[in-house]
């Protein structure tokens, strides 16, 4: 049987034949590319190793950025905090918070509770010593929602009288130990401003006891129940701020909008989370940029390998062309070779990053073991999507670096290498 000299006049292939033909050629081209990579095993290994280190470094740094963010945001947004918002008076305090405000907010759907806060000024006395103190009058729930941590003692109850929680800074002023609840009582003079702007004592309470201590060396603050503060000889109508808790995150935005619409300003934890996220986005970019340097170095190595591979194989390419390989076939051989290198480099990069993470955690564990009460936090967060993105990225690098050598191979004249002999 002889094949026709030219195909003119012969029926073309059916669609199925054409598909079979294209699939077969793709498989064969892949096989040939793999064969070439196998033949130059050491060079393949070193090139993919270079890519792996670059991609691995990027994954390591980016997942560390994500991990740190997760850690910070996680601690902010834990438990009730996400469902809580702080309501402050409107801009320039033209819209003060009073009892009617609280009543209005309580009437909204999905409200779990509303806790106002007043700030008073006072002077505390212990024997001869005397100091100015800021008194914050809130219910214990307010402090719980703020995740206030006590170093000693307990929070007061709503109906406690003449009991307060103080900052360690307050105890320090009186020369008392700051890590334990003192067994002394203070005389507290609540002060206010009279009509001629003079500070005057409004109410005096002897025998104020301390039930708990908050660690805050820098502030001289005392907290006491709002119910008790209301019994004092004060005539303030307005609150400094209020805490509002809703029953679900879904309600949060609705309630926030309703309050803002009434002229108040509202801060939610979600806002803070977004703020932190934007900071970490930049950290991630910086860490990613460091990784890009590593990848750039690896890319140059890969470009070098593919160019050498082309120069070494000009004769092979020539022979293939004289046997009927089209320029496009040659281009595909080279591009697949590059893409396989990129894919292998990407997969190895994930492995490198994994070992890097494990090694870091191991070192942190050992260091934590040396410190009393040390505990290890997970500083890496590796979502699947990030890994997929990096695999695609590795192949994109391969495509870019492989393009020029493939183009040179494509343009090579069939006789360029053969003629020289």
């Amino acid at each position: 049987m002889r094949l026709p000299l030219f195909r003119d006049g012969h029926a073309g292939p059916s669609l199925q034949e054409l598909i079979n033909y294209l699939v077969m050629r793709l498989i064969d081209i892949l096989r040939i590319s793999i064969k070439v990579l196998q033949k130059n095993f050491l060079r393949t290994l070193l090139t993919t190793g270079g890519i792996a280190v670059g991609i691995g470094a990027m994954i390591y740094l980016v997942t560390m950025g994500l991990g740190l963010e997760e850690l910070t945001v996680g601690s902010i947004s834990k438990s009730d905090a996400l469902l809580t918002m702080d309501v402050n008076p409107g801009p320039n305090e033209i819209k003060p918070i009073d009892d009617s405000t609280i009543k209005t907010i309580k009437s909204f759907d999905g409200i779990v509770g509303v806790w106002p806060r007043r700030t008073l000024s006072a002077k505390a006395n212990l024997g001869e010593k005397k100091t100015d103190i800021t008194i914050i009058a809130v219910s214990p729930s307010f402090l719980q929602l703020e995740q206030t941590k006590l170093v000693s003692g307990r929070l007061y109850h709503d109906d406690d009288e003449q009991s307060m929680v103080v900052s360690s800074g307050f105890l320090k002023v009186f020369g008392l130990p700051t890590k334990s609840t003192p067994l002394v009582t203070f005389k507290v003079e609540f002060t206010g401003v009279n009509s001629v702007k003079e500070t005057v004592v409004i109410d005096t309470v002897n025998n104020f006891s301390v039930v708990g201590v908050i660690e805050d060396e820098s502030a001289v603050v005392g907290y006491l129940p709002l119910n008790y503060a209301d019994t004092l000889n004060y005539d303030y109508d307005n609150y400094e701020k209020i805490k509002v808790k809703v029953d679900s995150v879904k309600e949060l935005q609705k309630v926030k909008e309703a309050i803002v619409a009434r002229g108040f300003s509202v801060v939610t934890v979600v806002d803070k989370v977004e703020e932190v996220e934007s900071v970490f986005k930049w950290i991630r970019y910086i860490l990613g940029a460091l990784g890009i340097i590593a990848v750039a170095v690896a890319s140059i190595g890969m470009f070098n390998t593919l160019t050498i591979s082309f120069l070494e194989r000009t004769k092979e390419i020539s022979i293939m062309k004289t046997l009927g390989a089209t320029d496009h076939d040659i281009w595909r051989f080279f591009m697949w070779e590059a893409l396989i290198l990129g894919l292998l480099g990407g997969i190895m990069g994930i492995v490198v990053a994994f070992f890097g993470q494990q090694l870091t955690m191991l070192i942190m564990n050992i260091l934590a073991g040396l410190v009393e009460d040390g505990h290890v936090v997970k500083i890496f967060y590796t979502p699947m999507l990030v890994l997929v993105e990096f695999l695609v990225f590795a192949m994109a690098i391969a495509f870019v670096t492989g393009f020029y050598p493939a183009l040179r191979a494509r343009r090579l004249h069939p006789l360029d290498a053969i003629r020289n002999e």
């Binding site: 049987m1 002889r2 000299l5 195909r7 022979i319 293939m320 004289t322 089209t326």
Partner: protein, 262 residues
């Protein structure tokens, strides 16, 4: 089948201008064993490459079955190489990282044939040439004669109607040369193929159906047509051939296959 008209090939310009093929005209009929004989540097390989469409003529044309191959686009040329012609080189030009079987089957890869089918076909051809036992060897692991047989097998795998052969025995010892000559003779007689061969080996003249001579890029039908001013004259050439044939055994030691070193 082939019609060559006013074919000229030159390289370089100005003072570097060099005309390798000079206004050549000839025709080759279907089924011919056509021999182009000439000494080294006479332009015979360039002429073969022009016939194969691997070189582009500077002037003139090469027609195959009425079509000027100069005007083939890239894909038509690739198809022409894949299906219509088989090329055999002096230096075999096997793919060094492919086994003998893979080398022979390679044109079928380009054709898109399934692995099983192309291996079967390649094995058939290898068996025909008695080198099927070497199927899994790399070219560097077999002798020059065996490599040339594999190269011929590769050129034949697509059963092309035209076989272009460039100095097939140039790198072979006497015994292998004879085997290769016999194979080509068999291909001509049994297959009825058009065989076009360029060589400086006058031994082939007895097998060919027609011989032309090429000296300094010009074609002569008979040795007597060659002007005496041309060098070297055919007599000297024949003499050199005979001397060379006697020394083949010794020379073979120095004929190193370029792939062997890789």
């Amino acid at each position: 089948m082939y019609k060559v008209e006013a074919l000229t090939k030159s390289y370089g310009e100005g003072s570097a201008y060099n005309e390798v093929i000079k206004d050549v005209n000839f025709t080759i009929n279907s089924g011919e064993y056509f021999l182009i004989i000439g000494p080294s540097g006479s332009g015979k390989s360039t002429l073969l490459y022009l016939l194969a469409g691997l070189e582009t003529p500077s002037r003139g044309s090469v027609h195959v079955r009425g079509q000027d191959i100069k005007f083939f686009d890239q894909n038509t040329m690739a198809t022409f190489h894949r299906i219509n012609i088989g090329i055999v080189y002096q230096s075999f030009h096997l793919l060094p990282s492919f086994t003998i079987l893979e080398n022979v089957a390679f044109p079928l890869v380009l054709q898109g044939l399934r692995t099983k089918k192309r291996e079967e076909r390649a094995m058939e051809v290898l068996q025909r040439f008695g080198i099927d036992a070497l199927a899994d060897h790399l070219p560097s692991q077999v002798s020059g004669g065996q490599q040339q047989k594999a190269a011929i097998a590769r050129a034949l795998i697509n059963m092309p109607p035209i076989l272009l052969i460039d100095e097939p025995t140039g790198n072979l010892d006497t015994k292998s040369s004879q085997e290769v000559m016999d194979i080509i003779e068999m291909l001509h007689k049994q297959g009825g193929r058009t065989i076009i061969m360029v060589t400086h080996n006058t031994e082939f003249i007895k097998y060919s159906t027609r011989t032309i001579h090429i000296i300094d890029g010009k074609i002569y039908d008979k040795p007597s047509d060659i002007p005496s001013s041309s060098s070297p004259d055919l007599e000297t050439m024949n003499l050199m051939e005979k001397i060379k044939a006697n020394q083949d055994e010794d020379i073979d030691e120095f004929m190193i296959n370029p792939f062997d070193k890789m």
